[in-house]
Every structure is written in structure tokens, then in C-alpha cells.
């Protein structure tokens, strides 16, 4: 078994209004100096050793992310 982390982020050229809203809220709370916030998704998958990297890439590209608007990265965290 291994834990696999998939992070999905909006592509740089795609407007991220949620990230902008977070960035806009920070100064109102008294936090200054944060110039940009991008908001994405973080998935944690528990996978058997039989699941290879190629399969994980298919999972990320085919379901977890929409490649039209999102980039994804995969990290294996050994148990």
C-alpha cells in the first residue's frame, strides 16, 4: 500500500476567481504582503502496489482533473 497525493490546480492562464477572493480577504483581516492566491484541489489516494504510475496518470487526467482548465501533479508517499 502507498499513499498517493494528487494536486490539481487551475492552469496559470485560467482566471481563478476563488483564489482572488481569498487574496482580497486577507488584507481585510489584517494580513498584508500576500500578492497572489491560487486555489486548487488536493486528493489523497490509498493504492495497492499493483497500481503503476501510468494508471495513476490516467486517473488524474481522466477524472480528478479536467485537462482543459487544470494541471495536475502526482506524488507517492511511501507508507
Amino acid at each position: 500500500m502507498a499513499r498517493v497525493v494528487v494536486d490539481v490546480m487551475p492552469k496559470p492562464e485560467i482566471l481563478d476567481p476563488q483564489g482572488q477572493a481569498v487574496a482580497g480577504a486577507l488584507p481585510r483581516l489584517g494580513f498584508h504582503g500576500v500578492t497572489e492566491v491560487r486555489q486548487g484541489k488536493h486528493f489523497e489516494l490509498e493504492v495497492d502496489d499493483s497500481v503503476d504510475d501510468e494508471t495513476l496518470a490516467k486517473i488524474a487526467e481522466g477524472l480528478l482533473a479536467n485537462p482543459v482548465i487544470e494541471d495536475w501533479t502526482i506524488r507517492r508517499i511511501e507508507a
Binding site: 476567481p17 479536467n66 482543459v68
Partner: protein, 226 residues
């Protein structure tokens, strides 16, 4: 015999009843289709209606795309069956790869619910022949993730090939690239749009009856004129 137009219901669909009502207004027979049933019941066209299929989990339309009925819809669309995606249905058709691009959170984050003017940019698709080219129509828009996004090459191709079917006029409500409200497939048989023509079929219950043309157009696509 009047054409039979299927209307899909997913868990979380809201506008299947209004879509079926609109089909009936256009003198076609609405046929209820169920997400878990791959059987299209021999319909001549399919409407994927609005709502929040599967609670919009993961992304709007991302789970609905894998419903058994969608495999049949994708296959039928490949053979030229007219398919209309409204709002969440548009999102589903994009996720399913029947239409290019994706719908993202509205630019200002607000859920937009208002009567919206649209311009008919292409009146040759299976779902828009009853309109005059350039006609302006008033149709309700109600969506939180209605911003149409695609890469520049795709936008150029859609624009150049006349595949933008409806465009917002009088201000862009959600940050859609190029003011795009609706697009079509290469062959013009599959159309997706964010506004809701099924809510504009009767002045008693909507801002206009401008949406009826969408459903009448499908009849023209199904019944070749003598």
C-alpha cells in the same frame, strides 16, 4: 407520428420537467430517460437538462459523464443524433468530450440569475434553425459556473468555423471568453448553452417565449421538409 425527444434525469437534475414541457409545447413527444439506464428508448434526439447532477461533486458534470446513459448519448451523437445540453447539461457535454472547452466559476463568484439577452450567431445548427441570424432573444440565465473557457486555438477555431451559436449581449454576465453563451459540434448536431430556453416558452411563466425556437428547430432537424 411526432418526433420523440428524450430528456435525461440524473440525481440532482432540476430542469428535466421544464425541458419535457418545452418539448411538448413544440408538439414533440417528451420521453423520460434515466441516468442509470443505457437505453435511449428509440428517441430521435436527446436533451441533457440543467441542475446539479451528482451534487456537482468534483467538477460540474464530471461524474454525470460516466453515467450509463451518457455512453449511449455519446454513441448516438457520433451517428448524428441531435443533442442539446442546457446549463449543467452543457457542462456534462463538455466533460464528455462532445463539445470542446469547459465551464468555470463565474468571474465575480456570484451565482447569476437573471433574464439575459442573447444573440443568435449561427442559425444552421440542429437546435437554432427557427431563428433569424443575428436575432436577439431573452432567455433566463441561472448558473454559478457558467464561464466558458477554452484555449486560444479552440476559441479561434470556434469563431472561425461559426460554431458559436449564442453570444451574450448587453454585458458579459460571467466572464465567458468571447461572450460565448453556447456552442455547437463540428456537424452542428450537438449544441450546448448556459441559458435556459426551456424556461422561456410561455409569457405566463417566463420573460418571453423566445426559447421555443430551440425546440421547434429540433423538429426541423428530425423531419426533413418535403
Amino acid at each position: 407520428m411526432s418526433p420523440r425527444i428524450g430528456v435525461i434525469t440524473f440525481p440532482g437534475t432540476l430542469d428535466d420537467v421544464d425541458a419535457a414541457r418545452a418539448v411538448g409545447y413544440a408538439d414533440a413527444e417528451p420521453v423520460a430517460l434515466w441516468h442509470a439506464d443505457a437505453d435511449l428508448k428509440g428517441v430521435d434526439a436527446v436533451i441533457v437538462p440543467g441542475g446539479f447532477s451528482y451534487g456537482d461533486y468534483l467538477r460540474c458534470g464530471a461524474i454525470a459523464r460516466f453515467a450509463p446513459v451518457m455512453s449511449s448519448v455519446v454513441e448516438a451523437a457520433g451517428k448524428g443524433m441531435p443533442v442539446l445540453g442546457i446549463c449543467n447539461g452543457f457542462q456534462i457535454l463538455c466533460e464528455a468530450g462532445l463539445l470542446p472547452g469547459a465551464l468555470v466559476r463565474n468571474e465575480k463568484l456570484h451565482f447569476v440569475c437573471r433574464d439575459q439577452w442573447l444573440r443568435v450567431e449561427n442559425n444552421t445548427t440542429a437546435w437554432s434553425t427557427r431563428y433569424d441570424a443575428g436575432a436577439e432573444v431573452l432567455i433566463p440565465l441561472k448558473s454559478g459556473e457558467g464561464g466558458y473557457m477554452a484555449d486560444q486555438a479552440t476559441l479561434d477555431r470556434l469563431g472561425g468555423d461559426g460554431r458559436v451559436v449564442f453570444r451574450y449581449v448587453g454585458g458579459n454576465p460571467n466572464g465567458s471568453r468571447n461572450d460565448i453563451a453556447g456552442i455547437c459540434s463540428e456537424n452542428g448536431r450537438v449544441v450546448g448553452l448556459m441559458p435556459h430556453p426551456e424556461h422561456a416558452i410561455d409569457a405566463l411563466t417566463g420573460p418571453s417565449d423566445d426559447g421555443l425556437g430551440v425546440f421547434y428547430s429540433a423538429l426541423d432537424a428530425l423531419v426533413p421538409s418535403a
